[in-house]
């Protein structure tokens, strides 16, 4: 960074090296059996409204919260995995505001004394490895769920379901260290993978992760120097983005929007916006959010958490980076394959169940083919029975099918899985479709289909034969193609080549 001050007039347009400054606030549901402050089951998604509530999470007068030990353990795991310092004393606090989904009129969260602070997560940045600093990690409860009813012609009202009220959340706040929507997406992917590896988070549960993103565009170096943005370049907070792709889209849209405003010389007010997933745009929201006074004070019904000693005893499972290194080391995976395979816990586990067949073959087929086919069908890796995939790998390994046939079989099996939840065996499929590679025998006698096809091809293509004999070796390729057609791709091109060459020589 240059030491010379950036002199630009106040109403300046955009400079080519202006920086995008992004910070994230991520809320994740912890995968405990019960809610944060009561014993209601957290498995509410398939159940009718208000069937997972009790006096405590319903906010009935006189009820009192009790802290779920497991939730605290999970929070400590997250704090440690993100390289944070664990607070000697953490404290729950009340955040007071009035909203229909907040049945007590306050949310129990952590404010002055969060459970973990000052950590980091290393990610693949736009210019190499990058350390994203974590400001804090704290615990809080989820509010209920609102369903807005009514329409233009009928009076509007709201329906409330408190099944979600009280679900344990962990909030992770980053410093504004991210510099592009891509980096933000990579950070989220790495965070998600880390949380899965820790066993504290189930990313398949709908709504289990929500992101608030804040973004501004500043002259290069300004933010690092000043510690905040330029006066006319406000910071926008985009609230409640509920998908990973949504985060990248929202940020991309917002950058364009802000850049346009800057080019026109307009002042950007700090504001809160909402991301409309279906339209891919951010829209302005009531700026009342910014004026809220939450009147935080320590939760008088709960006692502090002094859990440093406990935190020290916690042994973390293998995390993504360590697993990546191990995959390269133990299985000989390429760095790219290793990164892909360890990007999701279930994928890494899947790989390790089938890698014994042939580690590199398995890595290639999973990372380069299977994943693509799954994405195309909008399927997750958990839908693929590892044994079935093993069978396919074995066939590939032993050379019983060509790569092309292998892909064909894979697609058929996946389609079956998607439709019915089960599929035939890989071998059965290969046999059913007659895709097994025909191994050519070296003798000229017997019922050898390759031999048969070769003889037929020679008989049918006298011009090519003549061309070959005249010295044009490429005519052989044409004949090989004919034989491949006749054997429906099941012969090995190398073998066909040899057989034809032999026959032509003799013929």
């Amino acid at each position: 960074m240059s030491a010379t001050p950036v002199t630009q007039p106040a109403n300046t347009g955009l400079a080519i090296d202006d920086e995008v400054i992004i910070g994230l606030e991520i809320h994740c549901q912890l995968d405990t059996k019960t809610k944060l402050f009561c014993g209601c089951s957290t498995d509410y998604r398939d159940d009718p409204a208000n069937t997972h509530v009790c006096p405590i999470c319903l906010g009935l007068p006189g009820s009192l919260p009790r802290v779920n030990r497991k939730a605290v353990e999970y929070a400590l795991r997250v704090g440690k995995a993100l390289n944070c310092g664990i607070a000697p004393e953490a404290e729950f606090a009340r955040k007071n505001y009035f909203y229909p989904d907040l049945d007590k009129g306050f949310q129990i969260t952590q404010y002055d004394k969060p459970i973990a602070v000052k950590g980091y997560l290393d990610i693949e940045g736009d210019d190499g490895e990058k350390r994203v600093r974590i400001t804090r990690v704290h615990m809080e409860e989820d509010p209920g769920r609102l369903v807005h009813k009514g329409a233009a012609d009928r009076p509007k009202y709201t329906l409330v379901d408190y099944n979600r009220a009280g679900i344990p959340l962990i909030e992770i706040v980053t410093e504004p260290d991210l510099r592009s929507p891509k980096e933000a997406r990579r950070f989220l992917n790495k965070l998600r993978a880390t949380l899965e590896y820790l066993g504290v988070f189930d990313s398949e549960k709908e709504g289990s992760l929500r992101v608030d993103a804040n973004i501004s565009i500043q002259p290069k170096g300004w933010f690092e120097r000043e510690g905040k943005g330029k006066a006319d370049r406000g910071r926008v907070e985009i609230k409640n983005i509920s998908s990973y792709k949504g985060v990248e889209k929202a940020l991309t849209f917002e950058i364009t929007r802000q850049k346009n405003l800057i080019r026109r010389g307009q002042k950007l007010e700090s504001a809160t916006r909402h991301f409309v997933e279906t339209r891919g745009v951010t829209t302005s929201s009531r700026s009342k959010e910014m004026e809220q006074d939450y009147r935080y004070f320590p939760e008088p019904d709960l006692r502090p958490l002094r859990v440093c000693d406990w935190a020290m005893e916690i042994v973390l499972p293998e995390l993504p980076d360590a697993r990546r290194a191990r995959f390269m080391d133990q299985y000989g995976c390429s760095p790219i394959h290793a990164r892909t395979l360890t990007g999701e816990l279930k994928l890494a586990e899947f790989y390790e169940k089938v890698a014994d067949i042939d580690t590199v073959l398995a890595a290639t087929w999973i990372a380069d083919t299977l994943l693509g086919e799954l994405n195309y069908r909008d399927m997750g890796i958990t839908l693929v029975p590892p044994e079935q995939f093993r069978e396919l790998l074995v066939l590939l390994r032993e050379g019983s099918v060509t790569d092309k046939s292998g892909v064909e079989v894979l697609r058929i099996l996946l389609d079956q899985l998607k439709e019915t939840g089960s599929c035939e065996g890989a071998r059965a499929c290969v046999d059913r479709l007659g895709l097994r590679i025909i191994v050519a025998t070296p003798t000229l006698t017997g019922e050898d289909p390759v031999m048969e096809a070769a003889r037929e091809a020679i008989a049918e293509q006298p011009q090519a034969v003549a061309d070959y004999r005249a010295g044009r070796k490429e005519a052989l390729n044409f004949l090989v193609g004919q034989v491949m057609k006749k054997t429906r791709g099941c012969a090995k091109p190398g073998d066909v080549n040899k057989v034809l060459a032999r026959l032509l020589e003799e013929g």
Partner: protein
Amino acid sequence: MTSVTFSPDDRYNAFITTLSEAETGPGRLSDIPVAVKDNISTRGIPTTCASRILTGYIPPYDAHVVTLLKREGAAIVGKTNMDEFGMGTTTENSAFGPTLNPADPTRVPGGSSGGSAAAVAAGMVRMAIGTDTGGSIRCPAAFCGIVGLKPTYGRVSRYGLIAYANSLEQIGPMARNVEDVSLLMEVLTVHDTRDSTTIACPYRHTPDPTIRGLKIGVPEEFFGEGVDPRVASVVWEAITRLEAQGAEIVTCRMPSMAFALAAYYVTCTSEASSNLARFDGVRYGPQADTRRTWHESFQDRRREGFGTEVRRRIMLGTFALSSGYYGKYYAKAQAARQQVRNDFLRLFRTVDVIAGPTMPTVAFRLGEKTDPLSMYLSDILTVPANLAGVPAISVPCGTSEGLPVGLQVMGQWFRDEKVIDVAAACEQGVSV
């Protein structure tokens, strides 16, 4: 299961709800009619906190103390009147009209557990439970001439107590004599893990009036300017009688008294402003009007449902917690609280209990106290025990102008037994 019939002549308006047939069973409280203050949740019985905002609310669960009463066979015969949400010193702040003092029906019974005190004093029930946030058991006990104990904070579960000020309040026993208060205390102190602010410390004790050798501290501040000299005189006589029974009286000082009342009111209003935010008419209480917007409906509900004193305290508390003022009020109040605790710690190094008048005056006339601040000031002698969490009892020790006067005895944390003993000694002294 048998039942007790209850059809009282409630001329003092002690009750909000009565049960004409109350179930009773085997146990230490078998066949005993017990009244429960109406801020304590009772399953299937309306629970109002004497407020319009809870009209029609029927809790689907019992408070822990109610479960304990039932377990010992008590006949819960009704829910008693109170100052709305516990906010008051006279039981005049009730949506159901004031309760009258059986000792003199032109006067208040004290508050906020005035209904419980009146029911006991009038002989309608043998025992009652009340709640004490800043003196709300002890004040009515003193004004009505009965015994009322605020236990050590954390000794009785608050699960089911509709919160006013969580860090200050406790449920406690009220009766006409120390023995019954002690019996009720035994029933109430079974530990409850649902309240994370409690410590398991069951009370098992027979009151013992022998106080020979006991050191009783009497702080100067308890006999200061604001205390009616006639009340002071009655209380001094009682203390002198304790001395005659063998106790040693030690005068002492509690400088933190200067801040105690302010610390109390900042703390309780702050906590209340948060605790009372849940009454939005969506899940219970008078229905929120879905034809209006959320904030409009919420404001209307609160203006119509909460009385003036409640609204005043909510606003004070909101202000004390608000951005820019938290440091000046709430944070300072907690520091002041620490000083009160420190004073008690210091005093208890040399004395066993601390004694003085419960209230600075005898019961006021109905309608006499109209100015909020002047009402708050009458809590000056009772709030220190709530701020520190120490046990405190009020026991009748004489009369002034024909009206009951209460002696307050405070003890060390978790030494409620000692407080009971001194009260028993006082009781003995009075009857002699």
